[in-house]
Symmetry: C2
Subunit: 515 residues, 2 copies
């Protein structure tokens, strides 16, 4: 079948373009999705057969995007105007009143490759490069993205496809390079509430003489991401030259990855994977490794928490995933090591940016009340990095990490990194707090991590930095009747009341059974 | 993992609901998709963690839907308002200023069944019923729908799954029942431009004493659907009691199926299948048969056009599809017969509602210039129906059909059906026409059906009934230089110019090669 031309009147011999309309910013945030709104009586919609949900090409100067059409029949839009979502507006680099041209987009060749995968064909590197390039350019609708992700789960990627996908995801983004070797990194596969080891690990590892330029994410659905927590202690919103300056001076940094586009397709894919609750091994590996490789790392330690409510549910699955991660990393000259950890309960005491920052500081300061589980986890992972990076012999990494932490050198390094990132800050404390107490005596046998995270979010985390939950008990503890289980922290009385209403109504977050 | 409650403050012991907002109709047509617009500074978005693209439950009285959230930061919405798409507005049966409650939806159990299918598990009838029920209620986003459709292509449905899906699609819709037996029907799998046999077949079959209550669709992406063409000749927008009255009086009807909800999930699935260009055999069969079974048919003839640009590309594929259609139909006591036909070029001369209506009338009137291919096709399919319905012995159906047509009884029956549906109309003729001529002499060896259909749409079809394309040549014809290949018909000079510009620029719609 011959593909249709991109637009009828763009061909030679056609009259002057009549598909020109005036752009209007409607202030509608659809996340990554480019949406175009046109009046249903617009002559172009009739002539071109643009019905609701049609994919439309929009051109402005040298910029071109594909957007999903919605029709408008009310006065929010004139007949000669097109409204655009924020994502579309940004990508076209528009100003109000600018003229745009609308037309039928050329067929996306890469969709036939996705269909091939659906029917069981192997995806070669070139096909994967085309697919990821189209996704990065915003040419896929949610329907197309979902089909690609589903196909990669129903017809699992083999190793060569996973390598091809990883390379494609690297190639569409920025790359960092460093004059030193090794460059180390760590990543946690599947987050755990409060698992804020990163600032501690970077401090220990950089204090030991390794280079660790760490980028982290902000929370999307959780009460805090590492970047949110770190921001309580120092600025994290650094551009690439500033980040490089910090790393050259201190050997490490902990900055927000959003300003650096190391694997731009990844955010788009993750959003759809989350909606589907699908997470194929091949895409997980490509997602993790593409960012590390683009960041110029040579050695990476992967923390894989295993637990009933964690991303990886069994030790067997963790071992299989480790093996595949290590093999794919090898294809890019990246040395990877996986550390399988306990994923059954939150780590540390705080859930929420400031509360987690207090935990991090307590560990770095060797405070007597520092949460021991957070310390132990950080030492385990830092030790693995020290061994991988050649600073400690096999089996001696944890001991070296403990020595650096106990000596105060990790704290000093952390303070210097904070100063280099723009100045260290003292984490604030919430003005409004309320404890949730045990209804009965007994033993704490289970905790619902999801509901606990929800209380923290209802209290305002992560937007309100001080908001969150401070946990007072661990699984296995013996509990008295009326003993505080956890305390809700909030910035305002309203948010406290809101979280409290939920926590009171849902009195099964901790399960305390009679001994 | 414990599912989250549908909303925090809906639990016992919570304070009065604070998630109440004022509904505002924004006049935005998103087709089937329910979309909710909330101001990004709305306190509920912050408190509930409603980010853009979150799925939100909306309640109004006893009506409840799930919608996709977009954030608004401009003045088109107040902070205490929610804007709703037309689809959401209709399903909630709202009036401007009505109060609605927003909350987190309960997790959709059926999505785990879709995930199971992705991973290769068999879908039992109960799972399919739950999935289709959720889809019909609008609980699936485009992302979820696409995943379900992709999974059914990557992990093809076996026969018991196809039967389960067919039953599920029947069960969510309306059912018709008739006091007579047999009740016959026909369906064309994958349309062909101008293939308007239905009004002719219904007239022949009903004139022969069989009952044929035919519902047809309007065009979605083509220049005309059967309902659009029929509407030129008589009203088609009949409700169920009116349709029943016509059938009881005349033994047949040709009405628009949109007013009757025979398989409501089908429209939703087809929209996403079209965007993906995926069409799994199981879903195709369930789509076709569910409507026939719900319409109360006992015998159905399936027209399967085969051609390089048709839905079915080879005779082998057509035979395999026929076999499966017949077997699945049998599970519902529906007798099916497949007729494999030529799908290489348009049928008849007209493309567009009025032009096709002229073709239909010419055949029924036995006019000397009636298009022979349309007549032959209608006789073939009507003959198969007469044999299947017991009115003709095997091999004698076509002859009986020809006798009924030639005698004028089919025309009389058609006129009576038109009168019963509200009065017969004379098809109009376009005021603006322009022929497209051959650039060189030679033989017509190929035609691009897609581009021809596009010319018809650019000329205004199907909204402008008279608009379209009148074809003057068939493949294999010898052509003189300057001989008209086809004529563009339009309602207005502007639309004629628009279609002409495209047709002139794209001068390869007919391929004419020197002999």
């Amino acid at each position: 079948m011959t593909p249709e031309p991109s637009t009828g009147n763009a061909d030679a011999g056609a009259p002057e373009p009549i598909n020109v309309l005036v752009a209007r910013r409607l202030g509608i945030n659809t996340q990554h999705e480019a949406v175009i709104f046109m009046h249903e009586d617009c002559h172009i919609c009739r002539a071109e057969g643009f019905t609701a949900h049609t994919r439309i090409r929009i051109d402005h100067g040298k910029h071109s995007i594909i957007a999903t059409l919605y029709h408008v029949r009310s006065e929010i839009l004139h007949r000669n105007e097109v409204g655009l979502s924020e994502a579309a507006w940004r990508r076209l680099k528009l100003q109000d009143g600018a003229k745009v041209t609308v037309s039928h987009p050329a067929p996306l060749e890469s969709l036939s490759m996705v269909r091939g995968k659906v029917y069981g064909h192997h995806l070669d590197s070139e096909s994967l490069a085309t697919i990821i390039s189209d996704i990065t350019a915003g040419r896929y609708s949610d329907i197309h993205l979902s089909s690609f992700i589903t196909a990669c789960s129903a017809r699992p990627l083999d190793r060569s496809e996973t390598i091809g996908l990883t390379r494609a995801m690297i190639d569409v983004g920025d790359h960092l390079s460093w004059d030193v070797h090794p460059v180390v990194d760590k990543h946690c596969v599947g987050g755990l509430p409060g698992n804020r080891t990163t600032p501690i690990i970077v401090s220990i590892v950089a204090a030991s003489g390794l280079v660790m330029p760490k980028t982290s994410s902000r929370a999307i659905t959780s009460p805090a991401g590492t970047a949110d927590t770190m921001e309580v202690l120092a600025p994290v919103d650094l551009d690439l030259p500033s980040m490089r300056r910090v790393v050259e001076r201190e050997g490490g940094c902990i900055v927000w990855g959003g300003a650096v586009h190391l694997s731009p397709a990844d955010d788009t894919l993750i959003r759809v994977e989350r909606a589907l609750d699908l997470d194929s091994e091949g895409q997980l590996i490509a997602s993790v490794l593409s960012k590390k490789i683009a960041a110029g790392s040579s050695h990476v330690v992967l923390d894989i928490p295993v637990g009933a409510t964690a991303k990886v549910r069994s030790a067997d699955a963790a071992r299989a995933l480790s093996q595949e991660l290590i093999e794919v990393a090898r294809a890019f000259d990246l040395q990877a090591k996986a550390v399988i950890t306990d994923g059954s309960q939150p780590v540390g005491r705080g859930i929420g940016p400031a509360l987690e920052a207090h935990d991090v500081l307590a560990v770095l300061e060797n405070a007597p009340d520092a949460p021991d589980d957070l310390r132990e986890r950080a030492l385990l992972l830092a030790g693995a990095l020290l061994e991988l990076g050649g600073k400690a012999a096999a089996g001696e990494g944890r001991l070296l990490a403990a020595t650096v932490l106990d000596s105060g050198r990790a704290l000093t390094k952390f303070q210097r990194i904070c100063e280099a990132q723009g100045g260290m800050r003292k984490p604030p404390v919430a003005a409004h707090r309320h404890p949730i107490k045990a209804h009965n005596a007994g033993r704490a046998v289970a905790v619902d991590n999801r509901k606990l995270a929800r209380v923290a979010k209802l209290a305002g985390a992560p937007d309100a930095k001080v908001a969150g939950v401070e946990v007072h008990v661990s699984l296995g503890d013996d509990i008295d009747r009326g003993q505080p289980l956890y305390t809700i922290h909030a910035e305002t009385p309203g948010e406290l009341a809101y979280a409290l209403a939920y926590a009171s109504a849902t009195n099964d977050i901790y399960k305390v059974t009679a001994p």
